[in-house]
Amino acid sequence: MKKKDQLTLFMAKELLYDYAKGLLKDERKQSFEELLKESGELRLALKSINERIERLEEFDRLEVSEDLIKELSLPHPSLAQQLASIERRFAPQFWRALPLGVLVLAGVVAISIFKPWNYLGLNEVEVAKISMSDDDYRMEAAIALSEKDIEGAMKAQTEKDPEEVVEAPSDMVKSPDDKASSEKEVASAPKEKAKRVGYIYRGFMTVDNLSQVTQSTVDKIQALGGKKAGQVPLGWNRDEDERYFHFSIPEKNKKALLDHLSNFSQVRLSSQEHPLVMPEGKIRIILVVKQNPNVVPKEVEATPPPPLDPAETEESDSSVKEEASP
């Protein structure tokens, strides 16, 4: 045997198990036994391994009872296996969640049966009673309704019966609570011949200095007892070169306002039938003031108009026109 094929003690120790189990081939076994004769340490290690292997034979004597083998070897029916598997997987979660589920279900049923909010005494409480005249209500409604709402209602009425002049029912403004629903009520107004016809005045003018006229007009309207109507403020920047005034004013002050406006430019004011009847002695005006494009104003306003839409619509379909002399 060549020297390089000879076993070292280290290698022999690694082969102890194979030798003890009889797994070594003849040539290797021979060289292992040669080394075993020489090395006492290896003999001791082998002895120790063999002792352990012998001790493990204790387990070979174990006898499992026939009953146990029979029980374990019985094939489970397929369904029983599936059920056992499902139960093993889901049963703990199911039993854990069951009390909570029953509790929630009982709660829902109890609430739906007893309706506890009925016993809480959540009744409406009247905080204050404010008496308002019909004119006040009408005025409130006029202010609350935007131009778009009114135009829409008007169109709906004329489409239904273009021949009839329709007036919004007076009871649509019976109480302040009805303000929100007034839009619908206007749209569904009964077809009755109008005893009183409402009017809205529309005006247009072109001026040389828009910002100056705007401020002056706002002040004048307020001085004459005018109040903002619709949703946008007086003198709203509808466009860079356009201002919008939607307001109500005592009818007696109409002339004073026109006189004031005529100082700046010629004013065209036309009246138009409208389903909303204003209170006695009050009128509603929509005035549009534009910058004259041929004149450059002294102060150019750089602020863009806010993204509001007053829903001012076309004015071309006015039925009655009244020219106001400046």
């Binding site: 292997i53 070979d60 296996q81 598997s85």
Partner: protein, 139 residues
């Protein structure tokens, strides 16, 4: 079903588990799972699947109780002293080494079934068993 694999399975859990009353339920769980797997995979040999499932139960769920505890109906079992030694050995070696050792040296499962069930080569199983045995012999 081959009785020897049931016996091997009982031995495997008897050595690996601390509580003897759980051996039956773990064996039952392993055998049931192996049968199910055999049916699903249309395999003809059950023994490797029993090795695989029993090992899985020992590795991952040996602390869970599969069914009721019941006394193990065996006789001529190993001495308590030997079981204690094996249990102390379990704490000294890696889990993989111990599993190979128990299946190979104690449960005496066929090398082929063992190799297939554990997904290891014969050499690896023998080497691991040797390591445990040597460590035990060295004390």
């Amino acid at each position: 079903m081959d009785d020897s694999i049931i016996r091997s399975c009982v031995l495997f859990f008897l050595v690996t588990l601390d509580d003897e009353s759980r051996v039956y339920s773990c064996c039952e769980a392993a055998l049931t799972a192996a049968r199910k797997l055999q049916h699903r995979q249309s395999q003809t040999r059950l023994n490797p699947l029993v090795v695989k499932e029993a090992t899985q139960i020992y590795r991952e769920a040996h602390r869970k109780t599969f069914g009721a505890r019941r006394p193990l109906l065996v006789s001529n079992g190993p001495s308590e002293e030997l079981l204690k030694e094996i249990h102390s050995l379990r704490d000294k070696v890696s889990q993989d080494q111990f599993i190979s050792f128990v299946w190979s040296e104690i449960a005496k499962v066929n090398q082929e079934d063992l190799s297939e069930g554990l997904g290891l080569s014969h050499g690896t199983i023998q080497y691991r068993s040797h390591q445990v045995l040597r460590l035990w012999a060295e004390g």
